[in-house]
Symmetry: C2
Subunit: 202 residues, 2 copies
């Protein structure tokens, strides 16, 4: 349940063991409201409190405001970050690419695609969203840099483009069911091997 911890800017006051159930209910209320079609804009602490069956003060005691609460709720959809083993760049990438677009919570399927255009309209929310995905990006970036350093990958690799090449195919398939005939189970390996080896005849 480590994903339920408040963000760094919302220190939990000690000695509050009863709070776990309220935390849970509040996070669940946020995700339910978003999955039912609430926009970020329309989502209010009041609506969350009503849905969770708690008072507004209970929420403010745990989170400094809507954005911090939202960030904890969205982070919860994704579960824990995958940790690569560090032996082979190819195998590490298969692990990381397999985690792209993977959500542990089925509500993500309704929440995430709709969230994107709204997030993009607000600089604050855009930053909030980047904060959620950046730790995952950082791990992939490190694996790619290691590959360049060990000589497994090209010395002139554009790391950011490489990340888009590896992430894009998984995201469109998982978030948008882009192509009904692609085999989701084989896709992480197919994407990594395809991008590493290239399509050109040699």
């Amino acid at each position: 349940m480590s994903d339920l911890k408040p963000t760094a800017d919302a220190p939990r006051s000690p000695g509050r063991p009863r709070s776990t159930r309220a935390d849970e209910a509040i996070i669940e209320a946020v995700l339910d409201l978003l999955a039912e079609g609430s926009t970020i804009e329309a989502l209010s602490i009041e609506a969350v409190a009503t849905r969770a069956g708690v008072g507004k003060a209970t929420i403010y005691r745990r989170w400094p405001g809507k954005d911090a609460l939202l960030m904890d709720a969205l982070r919860r959809l994704k579960g824990v970050v995958a940790q690569p083993a560090g032996h082979s760049v190819r195998d590490d990438l298969v692990l990381l690419v397999g985690a792209v677009g993977h959500n542990v919570d089925p509500r993500a399927e309704r929440i995430m695609p709709c969230l994107v255009p709204e997030v993009n309209r607000s600089p604050d929310h855009f930053q909030l969203y980047q904060n959620i995905i950046e730790p995952r990006r950082k791990i992939m970036r490190e694996v790619l840099r290691r590959g360049v350093a060990t000589g497994e990958l090209r010395a002139d690799l554009d790391i950011e483009v490489a990340m888009a090449l590896l992430t894009g195919p998984m995201l469109i398939q998982r978030l948008m069911r882009w192509h009904p005939e692609l085999d989701d189970r084989l896709l992480p390996e197919n994407v990594v091997d395809g991008v590493l080896d290239g399509l050109r005849a040699r």
Copy 2:
């Protein structure tokens, strides 16, 4: 304005030159309602008629039903299909990849991401959406097959995976502004060259 032609299953009755303005108003009404957050489910012929300032009969004279109208409206967002020159597989792919996720209508940015989860819940709507993107897929598939035939691309190429590799990075960037630091103008070339050449050191 060829994009405004009714679908094949909705033959236009001849001798109706005044209809263009009504066609336009009806299509605009659909796109406005979707951009304002209407779900496909909630979108009714009645709501479209009210918004367009026409009678329901005017709509039914032009389209057999909501799905045919919706398909024409969504197709309109994307504009005309790019036609590759057929000289170099690499250059043709740059053209086609550059058109991925490109919408001529700014409302697409609000409509498309939110549409996806809804479309995926209904087999009819999923098929409708596939009908819109399949002609574009077909052209890319043909370029890739030609590349295999000419020896430019690997003989063992998995065409569907290759299409996902080429399409995914563009779609996440254009539809979701996935990575703020990627240069959108250079991306089609970077994606095609990256995927063709591969990331592995040689």
